[in-house]
Subunit: 335 residues, 2 copies
């Protein structure tokens, strides 16, 4: 194995897939051979990897033959169909869809938080949703010091998390509006340009969306504490790249904003940007291309005794998706 692994990227032409390929190269992941796969629609397109232009092939089991590490990022249905078959053939899957995230048999991992879960895998490791990853990176170090009992989070989520067609939709709608044409909504239920849509995924009977419930459940799973109560409001905003979040937490004992800042300055995968008087705080646009979750606006929550409020921004395609998946793979091969 010294020469590296045969790696497959399923959904290689998508917003996350292209980022995975880029990050595998950037971080010099030990790749012996890379297979780029996508739906039939993408057949014929190519991607660069280490200076070579590689063809993207159509996904089928034959194309996946011999793949040792497979990154899946082509939607839940594709994962549902192919992941069990890859595992059966002895391949290892890091799945970036919501397909296995709630499966108790599948580790759900943010390496800085629960890398210890990786070894318990049965062939599949789930990559959490981007909105969860950036939040638990910040909350976990606080939780270790002063147990978090409650989290209220309102998100400002970028369209790139929905994929390339959504990036295009925002772009087209903006152009249409600036040219006095009626904008068309195909990917989202409403116009996203110059609007905020309080819907990500579909709704459950309790009035929360699947994305909102997923953040609640993933937070508990990754932080390993079922007692943390989470209420999320997930909102799509007209931002291309970078998710932002307004987060209010309540802890079991009082932690001052200054104490939280000190804890977070030492936390892995976290950057504290917190000097609001000089206009310094995390921003979606400045999170792009960075590996960390950025936190700022840390302040004592004036509405409760043991509370803190903060603002978190992170590159949703990078640490929120592709980078976290590659980091899981790095842990996997070194464990």
């Amino acid at each position: 194995m010294a020469a590296g692994y045969k790696v497959a990227v399923v959904g290689a032409t998508g917003a996350v897939g292209t980022e995975i390929v880029k990050i595998l190269e950037e971080r010099n992941f030990p790749v012996r051979e890379i297979i780029l796969l996508a739906s039939q629609r993408a057949h014929g397109s190519g991607l660069e990897f280490r200076g070579d232009s590689l063809a993207v092939r159509t996904l089928d089991m034959e194309a996946l033959r011999g793949a040792e590490i497979c990154f899946f990022s082509a939607g839940s249905k594709i994962s549902q169909e192919f992941v069990p078959r890859v595992v059966q053939k002895g391949g290892m899957v890091i799945d970036n869809t919501s397909c296995f995230r709630m499966d108790e048999d599948v580790p759900l991992v943010v390496p800085e938080v629960n890398a210890d879960q990786i070894t318990s895998h049965k062939g599949v490791i789930a990559n959490p949703g981007g909105a969860t990853i950036q939040m638990v990176l910040v909350l976990h170090p606080i939780h270790k010091v002063a147990r978090i009992r409650r989290v209220i989070v309102s998100t400002y989520q970028a369209v790139s998390a929905t994929g390339q067609p959504a990036i295009q939709e925002l772009s087209e709608q903006v152009k249409d509006l600036f040219n006095f044409h009626e904008p068309q909504a195909r990917i989202y239920p409403h116009q996203i340009a110059f609007n905020c849509i309080p819907q990500i995924d579909t709704f459950l009977d309790n009035g929360y969306s699947r994305e909102e419930m997923q953040i609640a459940q993933e937070t508990k799973r990754i932080m390993g504490d079922k007692l943390i109560k989470v209420s999320a409001t997930c909102v799509r905003v007209p931002v291309f790249y970078g998710h932002s979040e307004a987060v209010n937490i309540e802890t079991s004992r009082k932690l001052t904003a200054a104490e939280a800042r000190t804890i977070l300055e030492a936390a892995p995968g976290v950057i504290v940007e917190d000097d609001p008087v000089h206009n310094t705080y995390p921003l979606a646009i400045s999170s792009v291309g960075r590996d960390e979750s950025c936190v700022g606006r840390i302040r004592d929550d004036l509405s409760v005794a043991n509370g803190l409020a903060m603002w978190i921004a992170c590159d949703n395609l990078r640490k929120g998706a592709a980078l976290n998946a590659v980091q899981i793979a790095e842990h996997l091969i070194s464990s």
Copy 2:
């Protein structure tokens, strides 16, 4: 007085001022004469009122002579300088800046909530900030039934609340980015196009922005309950018109989402749009031109016993500013 009032609009060419002029006409406010005033910069421009094209004059005390009802919407400094002088001359002022909002001697009014405060004025009535108006319209009817103890609000605020130059800045930045030019930030501290900025106004020592503290203080004043605790995170989003808000409240006794919906369906100035399964919820873009605060996504807050979560959107220039000011004037002349 049967023939109506001599009305002055200070800041008549601004985003709110033009809306005030439009709404005075729309609602057939008893205007005998209207005086449109603005800074010297706007001198020479004109506005339509009841089919007449009226010149906008430069603001000075001479121009305000004899004005009986004055709407001020030209920034705090202008209000600070001119409002006391207008009052001294016997004029009545409805001030749409933050200048007098925290002055205990000045009623701060959302007519649907505390119209009874209007008569206690000493010549000035303050129009609250838009983010507060749309929230208290929804919270007050709930508060009357089950006392609200705590409010956590994260805002998604449109650029038009900053005025015409901010509308232009978002527009220019979008055009620049789509033409591969570097966008320029002049009005806001950072690029607002395709970004979210967690800063509205300047910051206080406690880490909250003035806008955030204003929402907390205004909510207590308007709802007449100093015990309500409020923590706000105010965020500027790349939306031209319409503020949105994610609001979590805790009440003294349990109120179900269904009960809250019933209460709000009967509330003045409120529209319930709450059928998320059919993609129906308040939206910034659909709030534009409407008189009400729109609420939806009403659900039991899963993270606390007596909690509710909801989503509120409202036309920030209309009910969030101009309409509320005109409604105050309507109450004033009928009282």
